[in-house]
């Protein structure tokens, strides 16, 4: 074992306010060698961030830290004043979860990065030159222009790259990465992780990688430490711990992670439901709900660019796409919360008013919605019973409040609690119960689990599947996470820049051939299929460099080009046609519908399975 660069022994952290309770971190001991990445994993509140910040001396003043922290010979806990500042300047770097708030909004990016060099004593010209080089090294497009921009003018990915540039500028001995990619789009996340991997080998620093996602642990870390309420449960090499977890808490964590490669069909815990693949009422001629040629823009930004689709009765349709692809807007148009500039919504045969307030009580009762953020989906001043009672009364539901509570597995005594006192998961359960209180025909779920803890996400998804199955309600499940969508949906629609680029039954969409964008989504979410292109060449869809082309935020600034909106990012684009001619919609075998110029016809597509 090489000499540890970072040695932590008996680390205890206690917040003055919570003094009577257990300390936030209760005696943690571990070592990290130079060039080695240690993953800190655990549920939120387990103290993984507190440990990292305690080591980097970045805790609020009311936290008291004890125990020894030794970084390459310096006793970090003893540092103070100018010594601490010099240590921060030379040896430590931290990359945060929220890149937007980690950058000073009123200062240009170039100056903020150059400040690190100035602190090192370089003069302005040298600092600026090094800054441009640094921005280039984090593959920032056109570094000189980016340097002059303000943080709010950059995309999420670009902001995180700037933060990383600042962190790596001083070749730190200790690098802390606190959930660096949570909240970023899958494709952007992919780019950041690859950047970290590439730069990691050039540095010889001890790296702490904090995350709640075992996927990332597997991909990014050498060793991993599993934490539970401030204590170290297990520690060891990644493949050992994940392959054969010694403590049952680790095993529990691993199980409840979202079944990456499963669909509801083959999920063991759902065996009691005899889920047929095809919904009972095969394909009735009149779908439950259809949307015809809906278009909508917010100022210059095109949210929906002429979308037509339908949802069958009792069918679960997944709607997946990056942020800004218009998927949420489509959901809101269906529920009537957003009135589109153009287009019609039909419930069964009848066209219903675009604005929910002008719809009849009957059509309102049919379409309900589950919102994304648990904290604002329920009125904090109301009690659970009140919420469900009111929904049931207004929507004319038949089942009693207690039945509703039971159907979402809420304990009876929780009914009389204020909604504010519930946990995230419990709030979403109430929100789901409220949606089905009036026997709705369609429930639009807008990223219902993305704001929840990993462990809770799986249980909510299973709950949705059960409810959908028992009550034969159709779901429109909107999410940016393809694996969540593929787990749940009978049919998937992939959206990009306000249009549906590919739709079809789940297995057909998951299997090649794919619309190039779908391929990129699949690669980003770890499915790693080797995609053989039409002309036989293997485009390792997952090959890092292929997808590292700069992912501009879809739709945000893309002008409605006459041709295919995915043109700039499409690795398989046909020069001359794709950017000028709008791609046709082609119906292929197995119910697959694709909007693309590429010839998908040759029948041999299906052999090359994942």
């Amino acid at each position: 074992m090489t000499v540890p660069l970072l040695h932590v022994e008996g680390l205890v952290v206690r917040y003055r306010a919570a003094s009577p309770g257990p300390p936030a971190v209760d005696g943690v001991t571990f070592d990290v060698a130079a060039g080695e990445t240690l993953g800190l994993v655990g549920e939120s509140g387990c103290g993984k961030s507190t440990i990292a910040f305690a080591i980097a001396r970045a805790l609020p003043s009311d936290a008291s830290v004890s125990g020894t922290v030794d970084l390459d010979g310096t006793d970090v806990t003893a540092l103070s004043g100018a010594g601490l500042r010099r240590w921060w300047r030379d040896d430590v770097a931290v990359v945060y979860q929220e890149p937007q708030s980690a950058l000073n909004p009123t200062m240009r990016i170039g100056r903020q990065v150059a400040e690190v060099f100035a602190a090192q004593g370089l003069d302005d010209t040298q600092a600026n030159r090094r800054t441009i080089e640094l921005l280039d090294s984090v593959s920032m497009p056109d570094p000189a222009l980016i340097a002059r921009r303000y943080p709010h003018e950059l995309s999420g990915g670009q902001q995180q790259r700037a933060v990383i540039a600042m962190a790596l500028a001083i070749r730190p001995k200790l690098l802390v990465l606190d959930e660096p990619t949570t909240g970023l789009d899958a494709t952007v996340e992919r780019g950041i992780l690859d950047l970290i991997n590439q730069l990691r080998h050039e540095l010889s620093s001890a790296i702490l990688f904090i995350t709640h996602d075992f996927e990332l642990i597997e991909r990014m870390c050498d060793r991993v430490a599993v934490l539970r309420r401030g204590t170290l449960v297990e520690q060891g090499a990644v493949d050992e711990v994940i392959g054969a977890p010694r403590s049952d808490y680790t095993r529990e964590l691993l199980d409840c992670a979202i079944p990456r490669h499963r669909t509801k069909g083959n999920d063991p815990s759902l065996n009691h439901l005899d889920l047929q693949r095809t919904p009972m009422t095969a394909h009735p001629e009149i779908p439950l709900l259809s949307v015809v040629d809906v278009a909508h823009r917010y100022g210059q930004v095109v949210a929906l660019d002429g979308v037509t689709c339908h949802i069958g009765r009792g069918e679960v349709v997944g709607l997946v796409g990056e942020s800004g692809s218009g998927k949420t807007t489509l959901g809101r148009v269906i529920t009537g919360l957003t009135v589109p500039d153009r287009g019609v919504v039909r419930l069964g045969p009848a066209t219903i008013p675009a604005n929910v307030r002008r719809r009849t009580q009957e059509s309102r009762r049919a379409i309900q919605m589950v919102f994304q953020s648990p904290d604002t989906t329920l009125n904090p001043r109301h009690r659970v019973r009140e919420v469900l009672q009111r929904a049931r009364h207004k929507l004319g539901g038949t089942s009693s409040v207690d039945d509703l509570a039971a159907s979402v597995r809420l304990a009876r005594e929780q009914l009389d609690q204020l909604t504010a006192t519930l946990s995230g998961g419990q709030k979403q359960r109430v929100s789901i119960a409220r949606a089905i209180a009036g026997e709705a025909a369609l429930v639009v779920c807008d990223e219902p689990v993305s704001a929840l803890d990993v462990s809770v996400q799986a249980t909510i998804l299973r709950l949705l599947v059960e409810l959908q199955h028992h009550r034969q309600v159709s779901l429109l499940f909107v999410s940016h996470d393809l694996s969540v969508v593929s787990y749940l949906s009978d049919r998937i629609m992939v959206m990009y820049a306000g249009t549906i680029v590919e739709e079809g039954p789940t297995e057909v969409v998951l299997a090649p051939p794919h619309h190039p964008y779908t391929a990129e989504l699949l690669a980003a979410s770890g499915h790693l299929p080797i995609v053989t292109n039409q002309d036989g060449s293997t485009a390792a869809a997952a090959a890092p460099d292929a997808t590292v082309t700069q992912p501009t935020v879809a739709g945000a600034s893309a002008q409605p080009t006459r041709g295919c909106p995915f043109f700039e990012r499409c690795p398989l684009r046909i020069e001359g046609t794709c950017e000028s001619v709008p791609p046709p919609i082609r119906d292929l075998a197995g119910g697959l519908r694709v909007r693309c110029h590429l010839p998908f016809e040759p029948s041999d597509q299906h052999e090359t399975a994942a």
């Binding site: 306010a17 001396r57 919360l337 009125n379 001043r381 009111r390 207004k394």
Partner: protein, 290 residues
């Protein structure tokens, strides 16, 4: 004291203390205790100064005019030979009847107006905002001057005048809070259920902005007492002969050199009440929305 020395002197904490500790320490602060005691004293005086005051506030005393503070007259006597202590105690009643009622009226009016403007927006909001702006850019005491000139300066008129000038300010705050709440999912869920505007404003939005309204009310209370004293000073507020503090300061300010007690005690009373109410308002604001 240069900026440098002020800062370097103490190794500025990385981040300020976590919210939990800051809130608990606040309640035990001496300033809060002190100001609450002052307010209670003045309220007691306003309710029953007849029992506390040693003399009738408007009776000329045999002791004669401009008697300095002493054993017989704790605060001395004024130009009419009246006991200043009794007048100061009696002076609390007009202030503590008009100010709270005016603020109550302004808060109710302002909240309703704010809710409607915030919720409906569109043309109504545009026009109403222009009207509120029109009133706001008038010099603060201007509406008071006109209305008092119109209706004389009885207590009810003063309450109306203060309410009239505070309503726009309360409405502005409530409108801002409503604009935020209106976008929240639980309000959209209410729309999905087909709830009417009344229910949404009353049951969904109002409970959530009640905190902001309370904070606004306490701040306006301090302003109301301040404005009342100023109105009395320029001769618009108090009834003739009323022991209103502002009027006492105005009438006696010429005797400051030879009978300073006739001015400084009522002035002290005004300052003590306004400071106490401001301190309490400050605490409530930090406790409600840290």
């Amino acid at each position: 004291m240069s900026l440098e020395s002020a800062l370097v002197g103490q190794d500025v904490a990385v981040a300020s203390t976590s919210p939990v500790t800051r809130r608990r320490r606040r309640w035990t602060r001496p300033t809060l205790l002190g100001s609450s005691v002052v307010i209670v004293i003045w309220i007691a005086a306003a309710i029953r100064w007849e029992w506390i005051a040693p003399f009738g506030p408007s009776e000329a005393q045999s002791g004669g005019r401009f008697v300095g503070p002493g054993t017989e007259h704790l605060f001395g006597t004024d130009g009419f030979g009246r006991d200043v202590l009794s007048r100061v105690l009696a002076g609390s009643r007009p202030v503590l009847t008009v100010a709270p009622l005016a603020v109550l009226l302004a808060t109710i009016g302002g909240t309703v107006l704010g809710l409607i403007l915030g919720y409906f927006g569109g043309l109504v909001d545009g026009v109403a905002m222009r009207l509120l702006e029109a009133i706001a850019i008038l010099p603060p005491l201007f509406p008071a001057i006109l209305v008092v000139a119109l209706l004389g300066s009885s207590d009810t008129v003063l309450i109306l005048v203060l309410a009239f000038s505070f309503t726009p300010i309360v409405a502005w705050t409530v409108r801002a809070a409503t604009l935020v709440e209106r976008e929240k999912p639980f309000v959209e869920a209410a729309h999905l259920r087909g709830e009417g505007a009344g229910y949404i404003l009353g049951r969904e939005i109002l409970p959530n902005i009640a905190g902001a309204v309370v904070v606004e009310a306490t701040v306006r209370l301090a302003d109301a007492v301040f404005a009342l004293a100023t109105l009395a000073f320029i001769g618009l507020g108090a009834q003739p002969g009323s022991p209103d503090w502002g009027a006492q300061v105005a009438d006696n300010r010429v005797n400051l050199q030879n009978a300073w007690w006739t001015v400084l005690f009522p002035a002290g009373a005004v300052a003590s009440l306004v400071i106490a109410v401001s301190l309490v308002a400050d605490h409530i604001r930090e406790w409600k929305a840290p």
